[in-house]
């Protein structure tokens, strides 16, 4: 493994340096039919799950075949995607915000061959490489965060929980039987890099124990005032600590009762590790949405306060999600999102129909937000 230079010379880092040029211009990558009809699209139709046609004012058509992807993708798989694009789509493709891959062709004649090609491609383990679906009143791909594959603060895995859930939901990825679209999102800790807090169903990795304190190294690794300031509930204060050998060190003390396990202090100070096998697991949230359609966007609500991490397939989690999806599918009205359905029938009914136990953990007790969620009326259901 000999070092190969790109041309960069560390002795003269500023020589010919190019910076701040930004991304490549999007127009380079527009398929010709997209470029020609941009801003002049008339309507679209979902021909079948995963296959769309967009029709322009000019009469031009673009057919899109949408495929799910695992988000975590190898270079080898990306090269295969490129080969498919070359073979069927003149080399053009795109990704959606939900990590689906979209192959576009400019005539209906080209669709069947493309679909057949995609359906045939499987991994050695047996799963599809490019399952077609993710449109309309069904479940699209799950957006998610890194989890154990790459992050230093996760309470669960991202790729694994998503694989387990999408296997369970696969027929609804390839079908459009639901009352409205249903979007599942996954974030592996409360930091929510994936901002899952406005999803129909959100899978959230969660810690339940206050951080440990690595007294021996804390003062060497951390800015103590920064760690103190990072705590949103003021649970951390400076403290002297005596090590077993009698050395006195500057360290911290944590008021465990006040800790909400957000992990912000760990991000500021690596000597406060928070992850824990029994403490960590999954929270499920429900009923959020982004769209302004019919009613305003809304936040997801916590409906399951904790589920153990059950590697590798998280069966309690996936079965709970399945129960919610089935109750929604059979009970909600056309165009009604999960949150709208829950509000119409009442949350007390939601728990009943989804067979989820309501516990005291689901009553908000965090700052001002809490009061506005308690019931201030006698309008409830028995």
């Amino acid at each position: 493994m000999a070092f190969v230079s790109s041309g960069y010379n560390p002795a003269t880092p500023m020589e010919n340096r190019i910076t701040d040029i930004g991304p490549r211009h999007f127009e380079e990558f527009y398929p010709p039919v997209i470029k020609a009809n941009k801003g002049k699209w008339l309507y679209h139709e979902i021909i079948e799950p995963g296959v769309l046609v967009h029709v322009g004012e000019s009469g031009d058509e673009v057919y899109t075949v949408r495929c799910g992807g695992a988000r975590l993708m190898s270079g080898t798989l990306i090269r295969e995607i490129c080969d498919i694009a070359d073979k069927h789509c003149d080399g053009y493709l795109r990704f959606t915000t939900r990590n689906n891959i979209e192959f576009m062709v400019d005539s209906k004649d080209k669709v069947e061959a493309l679909k057949a090609d995609l359906k045939d491609r499987k991994f050695a383990g047996g799963s599809f490489k490019f399952p077609i679906g993710g449109t309309g009143a069904g479940i699209s791909n799950i957006v998610h965060t890194q989890g154990w594959i790459h992050c230093h603060t996760p309470a669960t895995d991202g790729s694994g929980t998503v694989k387990a859930t999408m296997d369970e939901m696969f027929t609804d990825f390839q079908d459009m039987r639901l009352p409205a679209k249903l979007r599942i999102a996954m974030a592996c800790c409360l930091n929510m890099c994936g901002a899952v807090h406005c999803s129909d169903i959100a899978i959230l990795g969660y810690h339940r124990k206050p951080p440990m304190i690595d007294h021996e190294y804390l003062d060497k690794q951390c800015e103590i005032p920064l760690a103190i300031a990072s705590c949103p509930t003021a649970a951390i204060k400076p403290a002297k600590h005596e090590l077993p050998d009698g050395t006195k060190v500057n360290s911290l003390a944590i008021n465990n009762e006040r800790c909400m396990y957000c992990g912000n202090c760990y991000t500021m100070c690596p000597s406060l590790p928070i992850s824990d096998t029994e403490g960590d697991g999954i929270v499920l949230m429900v009923g959020g949405k982004i769209s302004n359609r019919i009613n305003p966007p809304k936040f997801s609500k916590v409906v399951v306060a904790f589920i153990d991490n059950e590697m590798p397939r998280w069966p309690t989690m996936t079965q709970t999600i399945r129960r919610m999806v089935e109750a929604y599918a059979s009970d909600a009205r056309k165009y009604e999102r999960v949150g709208d359905w829950a509000e119409r029938i009442g949350w007390e009914r939601f728990f009943e129909k989804c067979e989820i136990e309501f516990t005291h953990h689901l009553i908000d007790d965090f700052r001002d937000h809490a009061y506005y969620t308690w019931r201030q009326s006698t309008q409830f259901k028995f």
Partner: protein, 439 residues
């Protein structure tokens, strides 16, 4: 022959959904064989070790990645995230495993050749594993060593004419929905505006000078497919001011069942015949629609542009022609002070590429000036707005208060008046007062 046994991960190879485990094994195998004769610049078995460390996390139920430390390219503070394994002896291939964020083209459109060029760099100088794409929107290269960072950056800028994305306390790589490039609902060219602002603010994107992260996201219409209203500090959502365009013939075609509602989104179940009264008129949140004989009528002045009727009958109804965008501010996930939705700041802003989107940049820069001055360390814009008050934000942006800014007026009358708003100010003469009021 796999380097590490992965009995738990192996169970994630079955089932129909694309298996990331199978994909990783494929990459590990391709690297081991190296039929392309690549001069690998990081260990050949990097992906084997990545599988190994992930398996260990599945055994322990805990991550095995350490804090990042400071790595990056010369002159930038963002774009690279340091990552080290906490079991380097067991998994030397991933002892250093830094992330490189690469700026994605607007709309996430690609040409195969470009993706191959990216992979040429990444399979040689990194693990070959990616995220397409990260939650913020960038192309994510997962796993390389410190000494490769400048080499990767050099090749990206010199040979591929592209750049790194953002990370840390700076402007994060802006992201957009597909916009008018392929969506009939889009009220402006999201790709154009996203690309322009990304380039205009490269300095803010690469050199952390902000109190915390700052996200721009661009939605072409109120459907919000890129979720800007929930997760961006400044959210740009397309909208229109004039009338919804109606094709009455197409309305009849929906009623007659010749066209499936909602672009065919409900084809998976028999919901019965389309009922325009029940499905459109009765669901309109402002009750501004009705039928007059065979004509669908809309009282456009009362429409709040929720998109339902347009989504449900895309061939009959189109957004208006007088389009622009609304700016909402302060959205964020719960950390640290609880979740916040974007709050409406500018109801209608012109989107004009001819003057370099001056109406948009003016609002952005006034907000940044304020947040950089007043924001505390790790305080998102939404938290500052709550701490300082919405009025303060109106003041710094010069935007006039409007009933559109609230969902309802305040319930409590604890109104803070400014001294200059009250005749005579606050300084009073107690002696003068006492002339008429005994102690």
């Amino acid at each position: 022959m796999a380097k590490h046994e992965t009995p738990l991960l192996d169970q994630l190879e079955s089932g129909p959904w694309p298996s990331f485990v199978s994909d990783m094994k494929l990459e590990a195998e391709v690297r081991a064989k190296n039929e392309a004769g690549i001069e690998f610049q990081v260990p050949v078995d990097v992906v084997d070790d990545l599988l190994g460390v992930l398996e260990l996390s599945y055994v322990h139920g805990r991550t095995h990645w350490k804090h990042g430390g400071i790595v990056g390219v010369f002159g930038y503070g963002g774009g690279v995230i340091g990552r080290y394994c906490d079991q380097p002896e067991m998994f030397p291939g991933v002892a250093h495993f830094h992330t490189v964020r690469v700026a994605q083209p607007a709309g996430k459109y690609y040409k195969a050749d470009y993706l191959r060029q990216l992979m040429d760099i990444w399979q040689m100088r990194g693990s070959g594993m990616t995220n397409m794409h990260g939650s913020t929107g960038d192309i994510i290269f997962l796993g390389t060593r410190t000494e490769q960072l400048e080499e990767i950056f050099y090749e990206l800028t010199h040979n591929l004419n592209t750049d790194l994305g953002g990370s840390g306390s700076n402007l994060r790589t802006p992201a957009d929905c597909i916009g008018s490039s392929r969506c009939e609902f889009s009220c402006y060219d999201t790709n154009g505006l996203c690309h322009f602002l990304t380039n205009l603010y490269q300095d803010e994107l690469h050199r952390p000078a902000f109190p915390y992260k700052f996200k721009f996201k661009f939605d072409g219409c109120p459907n919000g497919c890129v979720a800007s209203i929930a997760r961006s500090d400044m959210s740009f959502i397309g909208t229109w001011k004039d009338d919804i365009r109606i094709d009455q013939e197409a309305v009849q075609a929906y009623i007659g069942g010749e066209i499936a509602p909602n672009g065919g989104a409900f084809k998976g179940r028999d919901w019965g015949a389309f009922d325009i009264q029940k499905e459109i008129i009765d669901l309109c949140p402002t009750e501004c629609m009705w039928m007059e004989g065979k004509e669908l009528k809309i009282d456009n002045k009362e429409c709040n542009r929720c998109m339902h009727c347009i989504n449900a009958m895309p061939r009959a109804l189109r957004v208006g022609k007088d389009t622009g965008l609304s700016i909402l501010v302060g959205a964020k996930a719960p950390i640290l002070d609880g979740q916040q939705m974007g709050s409406l700041l500018a109801p209608f802003v012109e989107v004009n590429p001819e003057d370099d989107y001056a109406a948009v940049t003016e609002v952005i820069e006034s907000i940044w000036d304020w947040w950089m001055e007043e924001g505390k360390n790790r305080e998102r814009l939404g938290e500052l707005i709550r701490r300082a008050g919405f009025q303060k934000m109106l003041e710094v942006t010069g935007i006039k208060a409007d009933a559109r800014h609230v969902s309802e007026p305040r319930c409590n009358p604890y109104i803070f008046w400014k001294e200059d708003e009250v005749p005579g100010g606050w300084e009073r003469d107690v002696k003068e007062y006492r002339k008429h009021h005994k102690r």
